[in-house]
Amino acid sequence: MPVVARARRRKRRSVPIGRILLLGFFLVFVLWPLYWMFNTSIKPSDDYLTVPPVWFPTAPTLVHYKAALFAYRGLDGLINSLIISLSATVLSALFGTLMAYSLARYNTGGQHLSFWVLSQRFLPPIGIVLPVFLIYRGVGLYDTHIGLIIAYTVFTLPVSVWMMFAYFRGMPKSMEEAALVDGCTRWEAFWRVAVPLAAPGIVAAAVFAFIACWTEFFFALILTSRTAFTLPTVFRAFIGFQGAQYGEAAALAIVSLVPSIALGVLAQRHLVRGLTLGAVRG
């Protein structure tokens, strides 16, 4: 097909300047705030207000990291965030997988149950968090790790359920049916056969649940105070002060964004499924 070949050759020869410019501009837009934050975090406080600004710090320092972690209790927030996010992730992945399997293989509750779970994802948190705050104060769960773990488990369940629902539906049932014929109970067919096969999907769902908990602010702001506060709520300490704490804020931001970015980039193969609750394969 000479015509196609010629057309292809023509396409390849022209340099897509517009595309390169657009992509370059967008890359700079994405990277610039991250760079400036990093730059601020290692800059001595004397360099804050110079004109022109200090683009590359000549005398990098870790003093802001130390202050952010110890003086502003960033380390406590980090530990709380780890405990709460990990626990909620495990619970959410476990309960989500159980429910998703039932929905996918036994069509439990028909469409109503699965869409009821999905609808939870779209509830504005402000509608839930006010009464939860009152209930938690009543039963003594306010400002406890357990309270926030339960809240985060529920808040990540719709995503876990729907991601795993899509995953199980994409898996052939023949192995589980063979297990049932061989005399396994349904639980054994699920736990010994389906779960190991679905392990990559479960890990991906867990990663997205973890990132959601790790970056969550609103629930933590309202449901915790001095004991179970998470990393994002520590940033309240830096609001409204002119200048003095820029370095500390930037240092804490860098500390807190490294784990979630690392996990997210590692799981990027599953990103489309994670963002669309399994509606799109990607």
């Binding site: 196609v4 994405v30 705030p33 039932s102 939860v132």
Partner: protein
């Protein structure tokens, strides 16, 4: 039910599984036992609180006024007749609409540049998705560092580029603070549009474009005749998901402007938060959150209905 069929066939063949009474009961109700933990958790921490807040919205529940007397629709009246509440709803609609529109156009443009593979595409992809994994609080903090006077370098860069003194109060002056909030939102969520739209674009068969090229259709016509109709369901999905998250906008406002100056950057969530947690009019806030919930439900019904009809993928 195929499983039940195989099991009964197995039993008929004379190989009854030896199970205790409990295990038999568990096996019979297996599918309901699996959904039980998740459903119970959602009932306890989502449905029960919603019903509870329904009750609270009709009584007096205020840390400044003692007692829990029934007050009828007084809490709702207070919200509906509060000009700040109405302003916050308008602002929520405008800010989320504008942000989502910009994110959509920008995300689509970037996705179009990334469809065909080129050297370095994988690395660029990994960089572009980074904002999705960052807490909105940190995004707000990052843009504060860039924009806030006198520390942020933005005004200096603009001064150099434009050749005249620029002294914009990005977080304090009226049109600019909205620009700042939208920039922060666009920075964080354009990758969301980009990722979903790119998945849709790569699913379109390249044969269609080759055929179009043979018919000497130009790129612009091919975009409207091939790309848009094939990407339609995906566009709707991305817009729906994004819009439903955008109307919750709270975190970046909390960090960047604190709702101010005055009440100029109160979104619906921020308004309800201040009513409930800084003024402690809890019943008034729950009444307001029910109204907001109803608005959201209307949006959901409109968008999700259409989405289900379009059946993506």
């Amino acid at each position: 039910m195929q499983h039940t069929a195989t099991i009964s066939r197995m039993k008929a063949a004379g190989a009854p599984p030896r199970l205790s009474a409990f295990a038999q009961w568990a096996d019979r109700h297996f599918k309901w036992l699996l959904v039980a933990p998740a459903v119970l958790l959602i009932l306890a921490l989502s449905i029960y609180p919603l019903l509870f807040s329904m009750v609270v919205s009709f009584i007096n529940y205020d840390f400044q006024v003692p007692g829990h007397a029934f007050v009828g629709v007084k809490n709702y009246e207070r919200v509906v007749f509060d000009p700040v509440a109405r302003w916050s709803l308008v602002l929520t609609a405008c800010l989320s609409g504008l942000s989502v529109a910009i994110e959509f156009v920008l995300g689509l443009l970037v996705a179009l540049t990334m469809v065909r593979s080129f050297p370095g595409r994988g690395v660029i992809m990994s960089i572009l998705i980074v904002p999705l994994f960052i807490s909105p609080v940190i995004v707000g903090q990052a843009w504060t560092l860039l924009l806030q006077r006198p520390f942020g370098p933005t005004n200096y860069i603009l001064t150099q580029l434009l050749g005249q003194e620029v002294t914009i109060g990005w977080m304090t002056e009226s049109p600019w603070l909205y620009v700042s909030l939208i920039i922060a939102d666009v920075w964080q969520w354009t990758p969301f549009m980009f990722v979903i739209l790119l998945a849709g674009l790569t699913a379109i068969s390249p044969n269609l474009y080759e055929a179009a090229e043979l018919d000497s259709v130009n790129a612009w016509q091919a975009f409207w005749a091939i790309t848009v109709p094939h990407l339609g369901p995906m566009m709707l999905l991305a817009l729906t998901f994004r819009l439903l998250d955008a109307i919750r906008m709270f975190d970046t406002i909390f960090i960047m402007t604190g709702g101010g100056p005055g009440t100029q950057t109160y979104t619906a969530s921020y308004y309800l938060y201040t009513v409930g947690f800084t003024q402690f009019h809890l019943s008034q806030a729950t009444a307001g959150s029910w109204l907001f919930l109803i608005f959201t439900a209307l949006v959901v019904m409109l968008l999700v209905r259409r989405l289900l009809k379009a059946e993506p993928v």
